[in-house]
Amino acid sequence: MVEAPVEDKRITLKEAAKLIPDGAHLFWGGFGFQRPPMAFAHELVRQKKRNLTIYTCGSEMDIDILAGAYVVSHFELAFFAIEGIGLAPNIQRRIREGAVQIEDYTNLAMALRFLGGALGVPFMPLKSMLGTDLLAKSRFRAKKAEVITCPFTGEKVVLVPSVRPDFSIVHVSRVDREGNAQIDGIKGEDVEGARAGKKVIVLAEEIVDTEFIRSQPDQTVIPNIYVNYVVECPWGAYPMMVYNYYDYDMEHVRMYYQQCKTEEGWQKYCEEYITGVEDHVEFLTKIGMERLLKLRAKKPFPY
């Protein structure tokens, strides 16, 4: 009798970013300040990726960095800003330059587009967007949405096109090396988004033994069948937050926002914290142990 071997899907952050070709379409995980794949964004910048399209609901500093470094040319999303502070400075500038284009949906529309892609159907029904410019105006999609009359009730329903990006990038709490992932706290749109991608890269705060996962299968949020690659990436969302792991570093975020108001400031930030460091560990080293240790979540609080 053959004992089932544990498939090892682990690769490094550098290797993971190398998988993404220029021009690829990505689902981008995390929501607001929660679990953005920040370290992955940094590595895409370091590797000088170009012309990516990103699908997400609402993202912040992570996608502002990707726009600033000319990594992303197209977004389909519902929201971007540096919440609680102001507008996303780099995206603003890149839009003015014509380097970035945005196709606007609502958060629910985007989440359903991921669910539709994950379910293998070409659209999902929705009761938002009706009567607005979100329905009337499109930026680069040939057909952004379609209103139909329900064959059962006669009511108007919006159909939004499903998304199956080339890659889904999600940052989770923990994962085993086979790719079974757990997410503490809110899931945002990551459950659907992780299932929508043709290939899936899971980054995690920690890698746990597969026996730990299998002792509580109802805690698995993304099962291994969907996952192609696993990357251990502690503090991978810094300076944003990971539920039960660490809080955001608002001092750093405010510094970023202030500095990125000018192109020169952004270039300086990028050089200092992203392109000027070798890798994620060197970035964390630059931030400093004292700062990171202070941010750790304090039980029973998840922050």
Binding site: G30, F31, G32, F33, Q34, C57, G58, E60, L77, A78, F79, F80, A81, E83, G84, L87, I91, Q92, I95, I102, D104, Y105, T106, N107, L108, A109, A111, L112, L126, K127, S128, M129, L130, G131, T132, D133, L134, A136, K137, V147, E155, K156, V157, G185, I186, K187, G188, E189, D190, V191, E192, M241, Y243, D247, Y248, A297, P300, F301, P302, Y303
Partner: protein, 267 residues
């Protein structure tokens, strides 16, 4: 001090009054859909005063939140503290909101028109916008499907406009019956709270109507800062000021003045 001991002019700030107005729009037991900022403070205030059974939902997935610390992001882990559930966007915006369970949703606006239609996407022309705003987020979803909608915003002529630069979230569109015609589920905006006044919607025309004027504000001021024709009824009451109890709780909710600077800070 009693429950109905009202604070006097000078004892509260305009933002404090706005938060109190927001809180009073929430009834006990209601399901309230809010974002961060003033709406979050308003909902927390309501829950600690007249509406302890209200359930606060945040779109990131936090349901029936009982946060004790102020959150900076809609997905902030702070909102998970003693929540009933922490799930995701399809749960909150799809199953709860579009599913018909949300009584009142709070949104902000960069521009509104006289039917309560909202712009949070572009300032300027769509092809060559002056400013690209954050976009809909869950705003369009909330305004589309919540049973009632409260808009909280600052009162400026360039924000209260005759014609929006971009219609992000559906108010009453072009008037009575329009929401039903296009197939929307919720009944749209019911209240607008600004730094000058509260406004509701005339049931017949669905146009914005002055409902109460904040203490110390003049009709003149309101009209000068409104870019559309505001319906003004014959008798417009003064907005009920905060009570001392409300103020005390409000200041305990946001002790560092993150969203509502303390009177001494705002000087």
């Amino acid at each position: 001090m009693g429950k109905k001991d009202y604070a006097k002019p000078g004892e509260f700030t305009t933002l404090e009054l706005m938060a109190v107005c927001g809180a009073r729009a929430i009834k006990n037991g209601e399901v309230v859909f809010v974002g961060t900022g003033l709406p979050m403070i308003a909902a927390m205030l309501a829950k600690r005063t007249h509406a302890p059974k209200a359930k606060i939902v945040y779109e990131a997935g936090f349901i029936d939140s009982n946060a004790i610390d102020i959150a900076l992001s809609i997905a902030d882990s702070r909102l998970g503290y003693r929540a009933s559930a922490a799930i995701g966007l399809i749960e909150t915006l799809g199953l709860l909101l579009q599913g018909g369970h949300v009584d009142v949703g709070f949104v902000g606006a960069a521009q509104i028109d006289e039917y309560g239609n909202i712009n949070t996407t572009y300032i300027g022309d769509f092809e060559h916008p002056t400013v690209r705003l954050p976009g809909s987020g869950g705003g369009n979803d909330i305004v589309s499907s919540a049973k009632r909608v409260v808009i909280i915003m600052t009162h400026e002529k360039r924000k209260m406009v005759k014609k929006l630069d971009y219609l992000t979230s559906p108010g009453h569109l072009d008037g009575p019956g329009a929401r039903e015609r296009v197939g929307l589920l919720g009944s749209g905006p019911s209240l607008v709270v600004t730094n000058f006044c509260q406004m509701d919607f005339d049931p017949e025309t669905k146009r914005i109507r002055l409902a109460s004027v904040h203490p110390g504000v003049t009709l003149q001021e309101i009209m000068e800062n409104t870019g559309f024709d505001l319906l003004i009824p014959e008798n417009v009451p003064t907005t009920e000021p905060p009570t001392y109890e409300e103020l005390a709780i409000l200041r305990a909710i946001d002790p560092h003045g993150i969203y509502i600077p303390r009177p001494e800070q705002s000087k």
